[in-house]
Symmetry: C2
Subunit: 206 residues, 2 copies
């Protein structure tokens, strides 16, 4: 005899598949869902379904979108000459939150990672190269993650873009605002020294 | 301009309402849902809906059930003379997993907790008292949590059952198997001493 009813057990299993949700958290979530009103639980269930039905990738930049083109690609006020390359839609969101960037984006939907079997053909690099060669971009900012794989991905894109006269930059690396030198690791400090900035440049990104 | 599409933002909000799911986890879950196939995402969404539609409380013991009476109440092989009172369905499941108990259950669906505004009238204590007075139970085991509120709930039930000749017991308290005396706290040791058991009694629950 099972101690859980079938549909409770099934829902727990489904929650356990989610990242960061273990057996205990799934149990806790399911008991919570059993306790709340039908309307509240259906709101969750319906939002998942409608999200999967409505959200797709932007045809141009592969950001998440409910239209063929995403909000950013459709916005004529964005600087059409600068392109920022990120790994995931969430990276784009993080950059947007700073309010410091007003150009366009290109989302790779991953990074080159041979160990995970992800090659550049699984990413949107081909579309990126096509887009750059067809467009009027003056600067491409590589905003992949500061990891071995992120750097590798940026490098392989840079190689693909060789021959174009576009300026290719990457995000500044160094110590983080609010941190303490004492606790910075060697790499961080090495980045900070080798990439040192002129004092009056601090306001260059107004 | 919003950086997230409307339905993505809505789904994140819904996940954030769940216990133990913060902003970051909700984001991570939603990005995962966007990545997996429609079928997998719909499986989660549908399981929530069907659980809320099918699962109710057992009419007799208030365990979770998809029928009017739960599996345990419907099972004639269970010992009909012993009743174990627990706070939540999950406590029942934990006890069932031990395989040591073969009687019936009564789920209170909470505990008396004046600070949270939960009085005994919000629990299933009235049904319990009615059930006990009408039934042929010989023993009631109080298996509320070993906390101030759990103990208080058990005590208030015991008071309500005064006058009946039924044996009322509670779960043994003491040191936990596999632990070390050195790290046991005072209360645990005091419980263990005051509730000390005869050596040959160890096999009483075969």
């Amino acid at each position: 005899m099972s101690e859980l009813t079938e549909s409770v057990a099934k829902t727990m299993k489904e929650f356990e598949r989610l990242p960061g949700v273990g057996k205990k958290s799934a149990e806790r979530i399911v008991y919570h869902l059993l306790k709340i009103s039908k309307e509240e639980a259906f709101a969750l269930s319906d939002s998942i379904r409608s999200m999967k039905e409505n959200v797709r990738y932007c045809k141009c930049c592969f950001n998440l979108s409910e239209e063929e083109l995403c909000d950013i690609c459709r916005d004529p006020r964005r600087d059409q000459t600068t392109l920022c390359v990120v790994e995931q839609p969430r990276d784009l969101i993080a950059l947007e939150k700073t309010g410091q960037y007003h150009g366009l984006y290109h989302v790779l939907l991953g990074r080159v990672s041979p160990l995970d079997g992800v090659g550049s053909e699984q990413l949107t690099i081909d579309s990126l190269v096509k887009r750059v060669k067809a467009g009027k971009f003056k600067e491409i900012i590589m905003a992949t993650n500061p990891t071995v794989e992120g750097d590798g991905t940026a490098l392989s894109i840079t190689n693909r873009l060789e021959g174009t006269k576009i300026k290719i930059t990457r995000l500044a690396r160094g110590i983080t605002t609010g941190s303490s030198l004492e606790f910075a690791n060697n790499e961080m400090l090495a980045d900070a020294i080798s990439g040192r900035q002129r004092f009056d440049q601090e306001e260059r990104e107004k």
